[in-house]
Every structure is written in structure tokens, then in C-alpha cells.
């Protein structure tokens, strides 16, 4: 059976991770543990039948007062102008709770490409990977180190080499560099780098699946 995943015309996910030297961006710090998917996108916004448009309701109830889009809460990080970038950094156990993939869709739709935490909930992690959103697991110490940074610090994520680096303004007097490696299954890494997904792979082994069914029955 030919391997479908090598056919370029079925590429479904754009890959921003091919960038030479790694993906660099400012980051948005959300220093809070156990951020559940009900916060990322509340249930009342799950009524769509497509994957689009969830970004405007990302962190809806943390972002706005009384559910009013004209009243952003100044205390919430997405409303603080000094923070920008496509990397979200959050406390331990990010994405716990409901399995809603809408959480990953909302983050992607809002413009995030990478989420960094010391720990991700299982289902969220899969959902993220299935949508080209890279979950980077760092040590608790490294995570706290990121939270200590000023808003002009960038993070550089190199998926190929599986490293994440804190990159301060090189001209700053006391500039320091911190780097850590992160784990990702080599299969998932290939998927992200090449922009193919699990269905492409599973379809390519359909004969095996049918064979399995015959034996199992």
C-alpha cells in the first residue's frame, strides 16, 4: 500500500515550524495553574458547526466584564498592550477539563502557534497537536523563569532540535540566555514539521485495520 502521507496534495496543516533556527516570538504570560477548557472557551460558545470564529470568544469571561466586548478587563493579560506574540505561556495543568477541541481552535484562531506550560492535560495536548498548535512542556523552574521575564523578551522554539530558549534583548546590560530541551514523540514531530495528520496515516494502513477486524471477530 502506498504511503498516503507522502503525497503533498493532502497536506492539511500549515507548518510554521520549518523556520531555520527556530520559531521566535514574544509571549503572553498567563501565570495561573489548572486553566480549564471552560475558561479557554465557555460552553455557551460551542454552538458552531464549523471550526472557525472561536478566537473572538477565547477566554471570554476573563477578557470582558459582564460578557460585554466593549468592556475589556484591564487586569487580564490579553488586554495588556505590552504583551503580544503568538506564544502563550501558562501555569501547570493547562487545558484540563472538558475535551472540547474548540479550545484549541480558539487559541489557533486568536493567533497562537505555541503553548508553553510545565504540564498539559492529556486530551487538550492531543487536540492541540491535531490542529498544528505546538504544546511545549518545560520544567517548573524554566516556566517560572519565563514568568520573571519582561515583555520585550522573546522565546525561540526550535522543533527540529526540540529546544526552547529565552532570548532577552542582546543589548540589555545583564542579558542572560536560558535554554531547555523538550520532549515530543518523533511521530508527532514529523507530523508538525511536514504538515500531515493522523487521518492521513490511519488511512494509509486501512488494510491492516480490516485485517485486524477479521482476526478479532
Amino acid at each position: 500500500m502506498e504511503n498516503i502521507i507522502n503525497q503533498p496534495d493532502i497536506i492539511n496543516v500549515k507548518s510554521p515550524f520549518q523556520t531555520w533556527g527556530g520559531y521566535a516570538s514574544f509571549f503572553v504570560p498567563l501565570n495561573m495553574e489548572n486553566v480549564d477548557t471552560d475558561q479557554i472557551i465557555p460552553a455557551r460558545f460551542l454552538k458552531g458547526t464549523t471550526r472557525d470564529g472561536f478566537g473572538k470568544n477565547l477566554f471570554r469571561d476573563w477578557r470582558y466584564d459582564n460578557n460585554d466586548e466593549t468592556k475589556p478587563k484591564p487586569s487580564f493579560v490579553l488586554n495588556q498592550l505590552q504583551y503580544s506574540g503568538s506564544i502563550l505561556v501558562a501555569g501547570k495543568n493547562f487545558g484540563c477539563g472538558s475535551s472540547r477541541e474548540h479550545a484549541a481552535w480558539a487559541l489557533v484562531d486568536y493567533g497562537f502557534t505555541i503553548v508553553v506550560s510545565s504540564f498539559f492535560a492529556d486530551i487538550f495536548k492531543n487536540n492541540a497537536l491535531n490542529n498544528g498548535l505546538l504544546p511545549v512542556v518545560v520544567s517548573e523552574t524554566f516556566l517560572q523563569k519565563i514568568f520573571e521575564q519582561k515583555s520585550d523578551t522573546q522565546l525561540i522554539v526550535d522543533l527540529k532540535n526540540q529546544t526552547i530558549k529565552i532570548f532577552q534583548d542582546a543589548e540589555a546590560p545583564s542579558s542572560e540566555e536560558f535554554e531547555e530541551t523538550f520532549e515530543i514523540s518523533s511521530y508527532k514531530k514529523e507530523c508538525l514539521l511536514n504538515g500531515y495528520d493522523d487521518i492521513d496515516y490511519l488511512l494509509s494502513i486501512k488494510n491492516d485495520i480490516e485485517q485486524f477486524e477479521k482476526q478479532f471477530a
Binding site: 458547526t49 475535551s99 487536540n127
Partner: protein
């Protein structure tokens, strides 16, 4: 080779394993509902594929449905579109749908077991995290995202990494007024909302053995709240007696063969667990949560912890949670005034839950200012409650018996708790805004919820 219960089922369902990667896991049963399936159907269509094994899929409408006047068209337009989309998708793809008005309609995790779709030794998935419920039968059951729903539609398989193995042993007799909900809230309070992430959890020990099937489902249901991939309990006579005779349970020769296989489903004596936790049932009190994740729970007569017992990283979330809840660190929660009582959800909406509540409130009246909603898990539960006269007891107590659905557990339909109001709830999540924007949720067992409904404030089921 010594194997855990999980490994026995897992190994039987592996089609193949990718080198240094995940395994291809075969899925026996796929349950779907209106909220997490439309994008998956659309994806299949877009790829020009057909549903691979439609006869292994069962659908219901539960998350978004009203719990009054279900015979009328759904008023909320977006909810109606989602439910109609499910009807259309099921019809186009030859998928069995127990939709609104059908005698089998109900919460997906209630109808699976009651119809005998859920059986020992099988793999079950659903685009809903509380799929862990079905593990109570000794099945591997877990929640998946919509992309994964699409994968199962396309190939009846998922790519999965084998989780680590954890066993939680609960031994001894439960104290008066303590239900299986209290067991799981107690475990959560000890190991936290992330304590089992990356693990499959097997519940064992004499206390678990002595639980009914429905009580076991409550425990497995909340495995996801610990972060576990799934929770499971080895099947035994209690399981077999429950499954026997159910609509889709094996019959005749097939039953005899199934039973023989199911009796092999237990962790071998010397199976290796990566982690093992022992709990003494006598330490468990009726439980209640005070915060905004299910791990923030305590015995109902205990006080909310003080901030200084926490480590630095935990403090921001703790402070935020108490502020949201309008509660003070160090204070008791017993006696806290409540506005709503919600008895329902895939955690506690089965006939036993309703019977327990009815038995407790018989001849009593709810507190005047409290609104009490009882939402049965399924049409069958509702009908059984009516047949047993439980509806009359609720009516006399001032409790509203509504129609089946997920309801105020997640407030997707109109059953929402208003901002700032306190709701004692038998559901599974006390997240901010879970029951409605600004709603304050206190998780508890059906008995504690019933006792509190009568008093109008948080009360122990053992208080007179």
C-alpha cells in the same frame, strides 16, 4: 506475562505500533452527540470519505437540549441548528440516533450502559471527557477531541500512546451518609486535579467491590477530573448482573462466551503499577468543594484551607478561586446559604441517585428561597422514576423534575445559574462559569444536595 486489567484490554486492541511513536488502537464503540461531531462529519465529507463503520456508532442529543417541553421545537436557534445537523448527519450516514422524543434519548454516558452498549473488555470513545464513566464495566473508555472523532469516523482507529498504570485501592466500610461521589471527591482532594494525568486508573479494594454498578460509574466518571486518561474497575458479578438482559447485551450462546471472556478481565496478582494509592474508606466524610476545580474539595464539616499552606505557584489560582466563589480562606462552608440545587449530569442522574434523593426528601419540603432542579439522565430513568412514584415525592417537596439532558452541568441550554448565585450541584465541574457566567458551584453527592435543598444552606446528610 503479568498484565494489568488495562493492559489486557489494550493489548487486544492494538492494530500496530509505530516505532518510537503511538499505537493504532481499534475502537469498538463510538458514541456521538450534537456538540463535538458536526466538524468531524464535515471533515469526512471534505476529504471525500465515507464513515467506515457506521454500525459501531450510536448518537444522541444531550448537551444542548432543553429540559422542559422537549416536544416543542428548540427555541434557541444555534442549539436547534446543532441538533438538526446531528439528525441530518446521522440520516445521511446510516447512524443510529436516539434523538429528542426517542424513548432511549438521554445523556450519552447514561444511555450507553443502560442499553447494554457498554460492555466489559471493549474500547469506547466519545467526544466528551466524561466517557471515562464507561470504565466502570471494565472497559477502556476515554474522551476525545473532534479531530479524533473524525479519525474514528474514517478508520475506527485512533493513534494513542499507552498511559502509565495507577491503582487506587479503597478498603473498608463507608460511613453513614457517604456515597461513591464522596469517594471520588475525596480522592480528588488528595491527589489534585492533575494527580493522575498520563495514567489509566484502576479502582480496586473492598469498598469499590461493594459499590453498585451505578455508584461505580460515578467514581469512573470523575477520573478525568484527576487528569486520568481513563478509569476502570474489574468486572464482577455486579457487572454481569447489570449487563445481562440489556437491549444490546449478548444473548444465548453469545452471552455464555462473553461471560467466559469477561471473567478473565482483572489485573494479575503481580501486575506492575507505576503508582499505587491506598485509601481507608473510614476516612471519607460527605464531601463538598469550595473552589473552582474539582480537586478543591474537603469534608463538609471542615474549613477552607489557609493560603499559607500552599506553595507559591498555587497561590494565584487559589486566591482567584476564592474571590470568584465569594468565600474566605479558613472559614467553614457548612451553613453557607445556597440559591439553587442541581441534581443531574452524567455523574449523578441515574435511577439510584433519584431513589436516594426521593427517599431522603419524602415528607419534607425544600427551603422556600431555593430552586431545585432534578434532571434525569435519560428518558428511561425519567420513565422509571414516574413508574415508581418518585415524581410525586419530588413534586410534594417542591423539586422540579425536568426532562433528560446535560442541563445545568454546563449550562449550554437555558438551564443556567445566574451570576453570583450559589448552586450545590451533583455534577462534576465547579470551574468558573461552568453553570453559567459568574455562577458559583459547590460539588457534592446527591444526598448532600438533597439535605441542603431542605435546609436552604450547605448541610450534611447526617444532620437532623
Amino acid at each position: 506475562m503479568k498484565q494489568t486489567l488495562f493492559e489486557k484490554i489494550w493489548n487486544k486492541h492494538i492494530v500496530k505500533t509505530i516505532d518510537d511513536g503511538p499505537s493504532v488502537l481499534y475502537i469498538d464503540k463510538h458514541l456521538i452527540h450534537e456538540v463535538t461531531s458536526p466538524q468531524a462529519f464535515a471533515g469526512i465529507k471534505k476529504r471525500g470519505l465515507k464513515i467506515f463503520r457506521p454500525q459501531q456508532i450510536v448518537a444522541t442529543a444531550d448537551h444542548n437540549v432543553p429540559t422542559i417541553n422537549q416536544h416543542l421545537p428548540i427555541k434557541e436557534n444555534l442549539s436547534k441548528i446543532q441538533v438538526d445537523t446531528l439528525i441530518k448527519n446521522c440520516a445521511e450516514n446510516d447512524i443510529e440516533l436516539y434523538g429528542l422524543g426517542h424513548p432511549y434519548q438521554g445523556i450519552v454516558h447514561v444511555i450507553g450502559p443502560e442499553l447494554g452498549i457498554t460492555q466489559p473488555g471493549i474500547t469506547i470513545v466519545c467526544g466528551d471527557s466524561h466517557t471515562s464513566t464507561h470504565g466502570a464495566f471494565g472497559a477502556i473508555a476515554f474522551g476525545i477531541g473532534t479531530s479524533e472523532v473524525e479519525m474514528v469516523f474514517a478508520t475506527q482507529c485512533l493513534l494513542q500512546t499507552k498511559p502509565k498504570q495507577m491503582r487506587i485501592n479503597v478498603n473498608g466500610a463507608l460511613k453513614k451518609g457517604v456515597l461513591s461521589k464522596d469517594i471520588v471527591l475525596y480522592i480528588l482532594s488528595k491527589i489534585s486535579a492533575s494527580g493522575a494525568t498520563g495514567f489509566a486508573v484502576e479502582y480496586a479494594g473492598s469498598t469499590i467491590r461493594n459499590l453498585s454498578m451505578e455508584a461505580r460509574m460515578t467514581v469512573c466518571n470523575m477520573s478525568i477530573e484527576m487528569g486520568a486518561r481513563c478509569g476502570l474497575i474489574a468486572p464482577d458479578e455486579t457487572t454481569f448482573n447489570y449487563v445481562k438482559g440489556k437491549k444490546f447485551a449478548p444473548k444465548g450462546e453469545a452471552w455464555i462466551k462473553a461471560l467466559k471472556d469477561w471473567k478473565q478481565l482483572f489485573s494479575d496478582d503481580d501486575a506492575v503499577f507505576d503508582e499505587e494509592i491506598n485509601i481507608n474508606a473510614a476516612d471519607i466524610m460527605p464531601m463538598i468543594t469550595y473552589g473552582t476545580n474539582p480537586g478543591m474539595g474537603m469534608g463538609i464539616d471542615e474549613c477552607i484551607p489557609l493560603e499559607n499552606v500552599l506553595n507559591e505557584n498555587e497561590k494565584p489560582a487559589f486566591v482567584k478561586a476564592l474571590k470568584y466563589m465569594g468565600l474566605q480562606a479558613g472559614n467553614a462552608i457548612m451553613g453557607q446559604k445556597i440559591d439553587y440545587v442541581f441534581i443531574g449530569s452524567c455523574t449523578n442522574s441515574r435511577i439510584e441517585d433519584l431513589r436516594l434523593v426521593a427517599n431522603f426528601v419524602k415528607g419534607k419540603q425544600k427551603a422556600k428561597e431555593v430552586e431545585v432542579w432534578i434532571v434525569p439522565g435519560s428518558k428511561q430513568v425519567e420513565q422509571q422514576a414516574i413508574a415508581e412514584g418518585i415524581d410525586k415525592i419530588f413534586e410534594a417537596a417542591g423539586f422540579q423534575l425536568r426532562q433528560p439532558g446535560c442541563s445545568a452541568c454546563l449550562g449550554m441550554n437555558e438551564d443556567k445559574i445566574p451570576a453570583g448565585k450559589y448552586c450545590i450541584s451533583t455534577s462534576n465541574r465547579n470551574f468558573e462559569g461552568r453553570q453559567g457566567a459568574g455562577a458559583r458551584t459547590l460539588l457534592a453527592s446527591p444526598l448532600t444536595a438533597a439535605a441542603s435543598a431542605i435546609k436552604g444552606y450547605v448541610a450534611s446528610p447526617n444532620a437532623t
